[in-house]
């Protein structure tokens, strides 16, 4: 395992420390049981991680009303996958807002604006990752 890996004991480790040698297009990789040299910072801590397997409920306070959504614009909940809803950046009280509504809230600043910005980042990440499937 890599030193500093987050939440090491929070669930099954799907890919074990299996010793394996395999060929790649540009070299031979050795996956060994020895500690890996890469030291990346740990991200999950008690403040940020909501990793108990349930979607992050966020703050239940009702957000301020925003102007009506553009026609046919889906709500954030339809654009954020189930797994990304477990992110500490997901705020269920904003799940019904559309992207343009969230953009307006984000511009207003404050705590709600910060949450709206986090929701926009989750939408953006889903879009970015889905785009990967369109490349050959």
């Amino acid at each position: 395992m890599i030193a500093g890996t987050a939440a090491a004991a929070d669930g099954p480790v799907p890919i074990g420390d299996i010793a394996a040698i395999f060929m790649a297009g540009y070299g031979i990789y050795l996956v060994a049981t020895a500690p890996a040299p890469l030291q990346l910072p740990t991200i999950f801590n008690e403040d940020k991680a909501d990793d108990a397997g349930k979607p992050n409920e966020g703050n239940k306070n009702t957000p301020p009303p925003t102007p009506g959504p553009k026609a046919d614009e889906p709500p954030a909940d339809d654009q954020i996958s189930g797994s990304l809803k477990r992110s500490p950046s997901y705020h269920s009280e904003l799940g019904s807002k559309t992207k343009s509504e969230l953009e307006k809230l984000a511009k207003q600043g404050g705590e709600v604006g910060k949450r709206a910005k986090q929701m926009l980042k989750l939408i953006k990440e889903g879009t970015r990752l889905r785009g990967k499937g369109n490349k050959k």
């Binding site: 099954p12 991200i43 797994s83 950046s89």
Partner: protein, 156 residues
Amino acid sequence: MSHLDKVKSLYRSEKFKEAISFLEQSESECLLHPAVLVWKARCLQLADDISPYQLSDIEKLLKQALSVDSEYLPAIVDLAYFYLNVLDDSKQAAPLFREAINLHKEAFTEAVIGMAECLAEESSKEEALKFLANTETSALDANKLQEVKEELLGLP
């Protein structure tokens, strides 16, 4: 069809759960190329139901890919975006993006120089110089950069 081709095909069809199952099968056969780990991390981020996995497994998979190949660009970039967009932690993301840019710059420069040398040999030095001049302006996706610029200008 290679293992990764099949994964990508399932991914394109948004069959993320099936892709994860297929990747688990690949893992049992010890096919631990970093790309396998990166694609699994992507599937986990897009699937609606990822039990028994946790959100933290996504970070683990990307770090594991980097433990196999610390210069594997897709793993560096995906981990950086995971920090930036999923965990809202730009401080963790920035060094990784910087590393990715440096690695890409080195590889891209080498490829561009090689291509220019090919053009000079196969065509003419004018063609090679034209290619170099065009590359400087068209190396990045101008449309995407424009979108980001407009987004930044719209910020309060």
